[in-house]
């Protein structure tokens, strides 16, 4: 596809507030939990208190006898359930073994939530507790307690759905160890020879614990069946069509028997892609013949949601004294929890081929443990990987006394360089982003900032890091209609969380040639909308935007064809401006868009309606890079980090709506800072979560943060609509590395385990070992 130029209308490039703003600021917009249909029942799940146990018997008789209880289900009541569930979604209720704390064992639907809660308490389960695999490195050892039933296949659908990177060239030997569910190996050149020839070999192990996506709206769904066996789900999902497919597969019914209506989604960040509570809620609705609503509590979210994996990366590099890169070896362990589903290849690509290593060997393993299974979290595994590779690059530069920006710039890939999997890097703005952040006054004055330490102040430092995301791909479709009053209606099925609908409308306006005020965009449900991909992978504007652009161009072409026929002129002699098609040079000879629209909807008219359609599939990614800079102060007594300034520079290709783009950059930066500073799901030795509340799972508040400065770089993507690239994910990537680099600048101490808590930093300053969290 060629790059489009913006037509002379109010559209692409304008910072326009999203049209649903007034509904959102007045509390009128509806989420699943706000729905209250007549006859509504409330669901509650009984969850496992053990990380690993055999279920000896379940007694539901007292719960069933309780007034107001309409259904109690266990695995025995659900013939659709299969052993060796290929995904977490298929493991609706535990059959005879529980594999993580919080795994659903039984389900209740009742007239009131309080009744359902009490009924759940009346269910007695006899467990035979089994030893659990809690630490991923121990889980890989021979004799570790097994998590999956023998013969369960790895789930690579997340990698496919997220479209992060093709793995065709990965050379993966068959898994050997008992809890290793996937393995990958990417290599080039002679690593052993490289290390032998190196002047400096640096080896470190980097750890980032499991973290929760942290969306404010817990998972929620409302299910209702009609008398013909047709299921409607009102869902909080990042992809209605994906939810429909998964629920159909789990329940064994056809997709056209299910309608998924996407309600407002109160945040997802990758955590609301897979069907988590939709199947059990649908089953309760089927058992009762009533609408059933299920809303997870925050404790359930933290204990039994689908968080991001723990990532442990052992990284070894060899370089020459002059800074020449020679060899890299890495082992990545992704802790997937109780079910397979991690994306392995992203880590390998960023470790081995963000910078040009002539020889590398990168091995990856997905390891199962007795913890909740993981899912995507905004640029899955990229922040953790960049924490390793960027921290490492910074240390190498410091050890070699080289300028850290110049060192990165010298080795950074450019378009056409091979990725670790052999595919070429696409056009990207990595270098531009790095150059821009190096020009920032906070970077240039880093020596002065450091020198201002002491005298009642803490230890001051500056750090930066560079990271990015390759960009997801997924086929999608869209329609653009011309209405009888000359306005446009755009229809897709994309779930708008971040403000993508206004950007899509702007694309339609510019591609068709009308002002944005004339465009209305609707998110349809799975019965009304054309098939649309997930709102994930930084790909809504890139892929759905392409579909909307092409559909708007199709509608424009049809409009001009009709005008040509009505005006008896050739299409190439026509102009479309100010809502009217005219013959060039003859302003009186014209027809309005409203007239064309009317003719397409007039009794006995011979003019067809204008319906632009597009259904693209994609093969070319558009990597998006972001760099972040932190100016910090460390309290030498407590180890507490204060972030004084934080800057995000990001290449977005083209900012379709700068207001939305800046919102993504700021929000992504703060999630990244949370991963860097405070967030961790902390488990005890038995696999129980020790911090299952938002008091103890510490997300950053307004009082913890400075204003986030945003600098937009626009290096057009040759493939995206109007040059746009994916925007959502890159800003969550760099901060853990940027903060660790800043802490070293301030204190001289290198922390390799995130989050960089006061405890960890204070201990390191005392010369002790940084504390580890399972």
């Amino acid at each position: 596809m060629t790059m489009k130029t913006t037509r002379d209308v109010r559209g692409v490039g304008l910072a326009i507030p999203r049209p649903d703003g007034p509904e959102k600021v007045t509390g009128r917009v509806q989420y699943v939990a706000d729905l209250q249909p007549r006859g509504l029942l409330h669901a509650k799940l009984l969850r496992s208190p053990h990380a690993h146990a055999r279920i000896v018997r379940i007694d539901t008789s007292r719960a069933r006898a309780m007034p107001g209880v309409r259904a109690v289900l266990t695995a025995a009541d659900i013939p659709e359930l299969k052993r060796k569930a290929p995904t977490r979604s298929h493991a609706v209720l535990a059959i005879d073994r529980v594999v993580f704390v919080g795994q659903p064992v039984a389900a209740v639907a009742a007239d009131e939530l309080a009744i359902a809660e009490e009924a759940v308490d009346l269910i007695t389960v006899e467990y035979q507790v089994l030893p659990a695999s809690v630490d991923p490195l121990q889980a890989m050892q021979v004799g570790a307690p097994p998590v999956a039933d023998a013969g369960t296949e790895a789930d690579t659908s997340e990698a496919m759905a997220h479209g992060a990177v093709a793995v065709a060239r990965a050379d993966a030997p068959p898994p050997k160890a008992v809890n290793v569910s996937q393995q990958s190996r990417l290599h080039r050149g002679d690593v052993a020879k490289g290390f032998a020839e190196s002047d400096l070999v640096l080896e470190k192990t980097y750890r980032v614990p499991m973290v929760h996506q942290g969306y404010l709206e817990p998972h929620a769904v409302l299910a209702e069946w009609d008398r013909t066996g047709f299921l409607t789900l009102w869902a909080s999902t990042q992809g209605s069509f994906n939810t429909r497919s998964e629920v159909a597969d789990v329940l064994g019914i056809s997709e056209n028997q299910i309608r998924v209506i996407p309600m407002e989604c109160g945040g997802g960040f990758g955590g609301k892609i897979r069907a988590l509570c939709e199947p059990i809620t649908a089953l309760l609705a089927r058992a009762t013949g009533r609408p059933v609503r299920y809303v997870m509590t925050r404790r359930e979210e933290l204990e039994a949601g689908n968080p991001a994996p723990q990532v442990i990366i052992r990284l070894k590099t060899g370089v020459k004294r002059d800074g020449t890169l020679v060899a890299l070896e890495a082992e990545t362990v992704l802790e997937a929890g109780a079910f397979s589903g991690a994306v392995l290849a992203v880590s390998a690509v960023f470790l081995a081929s963000l910078y040009k290593w002539p020889a590398f060997e990168v091995r990856g393993a997905e390891v199962l443990t007795h913890k909740p299974s993981i899912a995507a979290y905004r640029a899955p595994v990229a922040p953790q990987t960049i924490f390793a590779i960027d921290s490492h690059m910074e240390q190498l530069a410091r050890a070699l006394k080289l300028d850290p920006v110049e060192f990165r710039r010298r080795h950074l890939i450019v378009e056409g360089d091979p990725m670790a999997n052999g595919q070429p890097w696409q056009s990207n703005g990595g270098r531009e982003v790095l150059d821009r952040i190096a020009e920032h006054p906070f970077w240039k004055s880093r020596a002065e900032w450091k020198a201002s330490s002491g005298n009642g102040r803490g230890l001051r430092g500056t750090g930066l890091a560079l990271g990015g995301w390759l960009g997801g791909l997924q086929p999608t479709s869209a329609t653009v209609r011309l209405n009888p009053d000359g306005t446009l209606s755009v229809l897709t099925g994309q779930v708008d969380i971040a403000g993508t609908n206004i950007a899509l409308a702007q694309i339609a306006a510019s591609a068709y040639g009308v002002d944005i005020e004339k465009v209305r965009i609707t998110t349809g449900d799975t019965d009304t909308a054309p098939v649309t991909g997930l709102s994930a992978g930084s790909k809504t504007v890139y892929t759905v935007g392409t579909a909307v652009l092409q559909a708007a161009e199709d509608a424009r072409r049809q409009t001009l064809e009709i005008a040509a026929s009505e005006l008896e002129a050739a299409i190439h002699d026509l102009e479309l401006a100010d809502g009217r098609v005219t013959v060039r040079g003859m302003p009186d000879r014209g027809i309005t868009l409203a007239q064309i629209g009317k003719k397409g909807n007039l009794y006995m008219s011979k003019v067809p309606p204008v319906l632009g359609v597009s259904r693209p599939a994609f093969s070319q990614q558009a990597p998006g890079f972001a760099a972040q800079l932190a100016r910090i102060e460390v309290d030498p007594d407590t180890g507490e980090v204060t972030v004084h300034e934080f800057v995000v520079v990001q290449d977005v290709g083209k900012a379709i709506n700068p207001l939305g783009v800046e919102g993504q950059m700021q929000g992504g930066a703060v999630q990244s800072l949370g991963m860097a500073l405070t967030e961790a799901l902390m488990y005890d030795g038995s696999g129980r979560l020790m911090n299952p509340s938002l008091l103890d799972y510490r997300k950053l508040t307004a009082a913890d943060l400075p204003d986030i400065e945003t600098i937009i770089v626009e290096k057009p993507s040759p493939s995206g609509p109007f040059g746009a690239r994916g925007v959502g994910e890159p800003p969550i990537v760099p901060a853990p590395a940027a903060i660790a680099n800043a802490v070293e600048d301030a204190t001289g101490v290198r922390i390799t385990t995130a989050p960089l808590t006061p405890e960890r930093i204070a201990l390191a300053l005392l010369g002790g070992q940084p504390a580890r969290t399972a």
Binding site: K24, T26, G27, R28, Y31, A33, L216, E217, E662, G667
Partner: protein, 157 residues
């Protein structure tokens, strides 16, 4: 158990509603009165999504029993302003493009409104502490601070 008749004022209107003794104020507002603007993000007072005004002061309505509101005046986001007649804070939030997923927004706005009632010209630092009890996962708070600051400045003019 017998339900209790609860009389109180909600958004300047006297209401009477039957509640369970264990219903929180948030339950009563959402489930019994259909005022679903206040949100339950945690149920333990940590996220601020359920913030409403009780006699003009911000409270976490998930931490209060409904019956404790007897005879008192509650204001929810529905009573702050409405489409077409937005409160200046709401207008500023729309203009600055603050809402993304939107789930935290009702609580943030009620905290901000309570802050401005007490301190009409807060510094950015005071605004940050004024909404520190409200978690937001989408925005990074920067646009919220500018919007609240701008609304305060506009009201002072």
């Amino acid at each position: 158990m017998a339900k209790h008749a609860l009389s109180f004022t909600v958004n300047d209107e006297a209401v009477e509603v039957l509640v369970q003794p264990w219903d929180t104020l948030l339950d009563a507002l959402r489930e019994r009165l259909g005022l679903t603007g206040p949100k339950e993000g945690c149920g333990t007072g940590d996220c601020g999504g359920c913030t409403v005004h009780l006699d003009g002061k911000p409270v976490a309505s998930c931490l209060m029993l409904a019956v404790q509101a007897r005879g008192r005046a509650v204001r929810t986001i529905e009573g702050l302003g409405r489409p077409g007649a937005l409160h200046p804070l709401q207008e500023a939030f729309v203009r600055h493009g603050v809402p993304q997923c939107g789930f935290c927004i009702p609580g943030v706005l009620m905290s901000a409104a309570a802050l401005l009632a007490e301190n009409p010209r807060p510094t950015d630092e005071e605004i940050r502490y004024g909404i520190a009890g409200n978690l937001c996962r989408c925005t990074g708070y920067t646009t919220m601070i500018s919007a609240i600051s701008e609304a305060a400045a506009a009201a002072a003019r």
